[in-house]
């Protein structure tokens, strides 16, 4: 299962969901779904998010084993 810390990184950068959505060219609902862990982004969007939030893709996303 892919986990993320997009919400924490966004808040650290003082971005609103709307501002981040505009930055990475997606809808605000996509950011909401991502933060809730209900949507796994494409590699392109993950890279755009990492770039917009000034971090790395590894820091934003990781795989958590389901046991």
């Amino acid at each position: 299962m892919i986990k993320n810390r997009v919400r924490q990184a966004r808040l650290a950068c003082e971005f609103t969901q709307e501002a981040l959505a505009q930055e990475v060219e997606v809808s605000r609902q996509t950011i909401i779904a991502l933060e809730k862990g209900n949507y796994t982004p494409s590699v392109k969007l993950a890279l755009q998010l990492a770039s917009a939030l000034g971090t790395t893709i590894e820091d934003l996303f990781w795989i958590e084993s389901e046991e």
Binding site: E25, V26, S27, T30, A33, K36, L45
Partner: protein, 133 residues
């Protein structure tokens, strides 16, 4: 907010223009009214739906579907198609038991209607599903 104002204004002008052409070409007022309500309704719904974002720089077509929107549409389309396939198989089997074997012509229209309705319901369902905890 300004970008949404521009979007709403240009879309309203577009729908009004289409309706004016339809009226000018002699179509009944109620068809023009239905087209106006559906057209305006779609353009009001689109930015609120979460499936589109507004890009005013491309003046002609400001609605852009993002990757999650595309995923929702593809998933709903695939499953609606499967429902239609199951329905057509059911209709085919029903037809085989008739004497002589036949399928009523209206059944095809109903099948397409069920397919479209399934697509709409499924896409709304998948859209909501991603936003819930």
């Amino acid at each position: 907010m300004k970008s949404l104002r521009t979007y709403y204004l240009t879309r309203f002008i577009l729908v009004a223009l289409i309706c004016a052409i339809m009226t000018w070409s002699g179509l009944p007022w109620w068809i023009v009214s239905v087209v106006f309500i559906l057209g305006a309704g779609f353009f009001v719904w689109a930015p609120l739906s979460g499936r589109y974002r507004i890009v005013n720089e491309t003046h002609g077509a400001p609605l852009r579907m993002d990757e999650r929107g595309r995923q929702v549409r593809e998933r709903a389309g695939r499953n609606a198609f499967l429902i239609m396939q199951a329905l057509s198989l059911g209709l085919f089997l029903y037809g085989q038991f008739q004497e002589p074997p036949s399928i009523p012509a209206a059944a095809i229209g109903i099948m397409l209607g069920v397919g479209m309705l399934s697509y709409l319901v499924l896409s709304l369902l998948y859209e909501r599903e991603a936003l819930l905890d």
